[in-house]
Symmetry: C2
Amino acid sequence: MRIALDAMGTDGAPAVEVAGALGALEELEEEHEIVLVGDREILEAELARHEGVPRSRLSVHHAADRVLPGEKAASVVRKKPESSIVVALRLEREGHVDAVVSAGSTGAIMAASLLILRALEGVDRPAVGTMLPTAGAPVLLLDAGANVDCKPLHLKQFAHLGNIYAQDLMGVDRPRIGLLNIGEEPEKGDERALETYQLLSSDSSLNFVGNIEGREIIRGGCDVLVADGFVGNVLLKFYESVAQFMIGLLEGAIRDAKITLDLDRLFGVLDYSEYGGAPLLGVNGVSIVCHGGSPPKAIRNAIGVAAQAVRSDTVARIARELAALKTAREAE
Amino acid sequence: MRIALDAMGTDGAPAVEVAGALGALEELEEEHEIVLVGDREILEAELARHEGVPRSRLSVHHAADRVLPGEKAASVVRKKPESSIVVALRLEREGHVDAVVSAGSTGAIMAASLLILRALEGVDRPAVGTMLPTAGAPVLLLDAGANVDCKPLHLKQFAHLGNIYAQDLMGVDRPRIGLLNIGEEPEKGDERALETYQLLSSDSSLNFVGNIEGREIIRGGCDVLVADGFVGNVLLKFYESVAQFMIGLLEGAIRDAKITLDLDRLFGVLDYSEYGGAPLLGVNGVSIVCHGGSPPKAIRNAIGVAAQAVRSDTVARIARELAALKTAREAE
C-alpha cells in the first residue's frame, strides 16, 4: 500500500510532514510506503536532517508548486496543476498511490479531490467528516463544512457515508446515527430537519437514534452526527475555540497559583491530533484533510487512518451502499 | 415601576423566585415594586419563611394554574389561561405592570408573549437574545432559538433589535453587529448568509463589522451576533454543555490532586446567571426569559435587566427603529 502525503500543507511544512511520515512508518507494517509530495530539493534537505530514514518505504515525488493560504479553492486544479495537493491526488487517480493525506487548505483539498477523484455514483455531495471529542467516544460530525444549503436527501446520504466510515474506522458495528437539531422531539426543527428526520427514521438500514440537541453532543449519545455544513462548521470551530479559551484561562490560574496540574493529560480527550484528520467522504478515493496547525502526531495518525480506510476497502463499501440507495430511490 | 415575576417557573419554584425577588428589591430604588404571580397560598407560605419582607413593594397576584414542562407551547394561552405566565403577561398588557420575568418554558413564554403582548409594527419575528460569555465583553446572540427558517430580512430585523438592546442594556454606544458565518469573506456562507451580508453591509444605520466565524465568537469581536435561531440554539446549548463538561473534568482532577483552584472565580466569566436572562425582543412589552435551572442570583439579575429596559424605554425605541425600517422598505 502506498500513501501520498502532501508535504507542503502544514504551517510547519515540510518538517512536520516529514516527522509525521517517519512516525507513521514506525507504526505501520513493512508493506506500507509513503510518498512525500512537494519540492524535491526542499524535501531531500529535510530528509537529510534525519538519520536512518527507510528510503525504500519513504520516497519523494516532485511537485514544483504549492497552494498558498487564501487562494481560491475552486480554481486550484486549473491554476496550480503542479501544486503538491493536485499532484498527490493525480497520483491517486492514476493508481500510483492508494490514499492522499494533506494539511493544506480544506477548501482546496475538497475542490481538488472532487475534480480529480470525482464523486461516487449516488453521492450528490461529498462531505467532510470530523471527529468531535466527547465525554464518551468521539463523534463523527458530517458535514463539517464542505456543503451549505444541503437538502434533506443530502443529509440522508451523509448518514450513509458516516455509517460505513464509523464501521470501518471507528470500530462500531451498528453506528448510532443522530440528527443535529434544536429539540429531541420529531416535530422540532427547521424545515430541513423535519424532513430529514422522516427520511432517516424510515430508513431501516440505519440505526437512527433521533434528534441530538446542542447540549447532548458532548454526552456522546451518537456515533455519527448528521448536520448541514453551515451548522457543522460553526459548531466545530466554536468547539475548538471554547476549549482553547478555557484552557488558556486555566493555564494562567495554574501559573499564578504555582500549582501543578497536567492539562495535557486532563484534556487529552479534547486533543484533535489524536483523531487523525478529517476524511472527505463520498469521493472515489481516500482523501484525508488535516489541520494546517497539525503537529507531527496528527499527521502520523492521519496516515494511520488513511491506511485503515484502504485496508477496509471503505471507498468500495461506500460506493456499493450509495449506489444501492440511489437504485432504491429510483425504483420508488 | 412594577415588575411581574412568574413565581412558578424555575425548577426550585417558588423558593428561588422569592429569594431572587427579595435580592432584587434590596438593589433597586424604592419606587420599584415586584408582583409575584402564582398560587397565593403557596407564595404566602414561602414569604412567611422570610423576615422583614417589604410587603409594600412585594405583592402577590394569584394565578391558580401553572405551565408544566413538556406542555405544548403554542396552546398555553388557550389551554392554561390562569397559568402564572399567562396571568403575568396579561397584567403587563393591561398596564398593571411594566415588565414580566419568567423562568418557565422558553417556548411557552415566547408563544404567550406573542399572543398577549403582540409583535411590534415592523417586526415579522420577535427574537430571543442571549448573552454569550466571551474573552471580552459578553455578546448578545440573537436569535437564540425562537425562530427557524429565518429569511435575510428577518436577520436584518434581528440586527436592529439587538442594536437598540445593546445600546440600552449593554452600555455600548455604537454596537458592533456581526453575522455568524463559516468564513470571514463576504462571499462565504449559505444563501441566507450571503444575502443577509448584503442587507447588513448596505445599512448605514448599523455598525456592521462583517462575518464572524465560529472560532471568532469567543474573542468578542462583536457586541451583537446575528444568526438564524436553529444555528443560534445549537450553539448556545453546545456552549453551556462544553463548559460544564470541561469544568467537570477539572473538578475531578482537582479533587484527585488535592489542590485548590477557585473554579467559580476562574470561570465566573462563563456564568450565565450573571447576565440576567434572555430578552424577548420585538414584542410590545418587556418579557425576560430565565433558565429553568436559575439560582436566585439569576432571577435577581433578570429583574434588574427588566427594570433597566423599562427605564431606558427600550421597547418604544425599538418600535420607532423598526417602524422606520419598514417605512423605508415600503418606500423603495
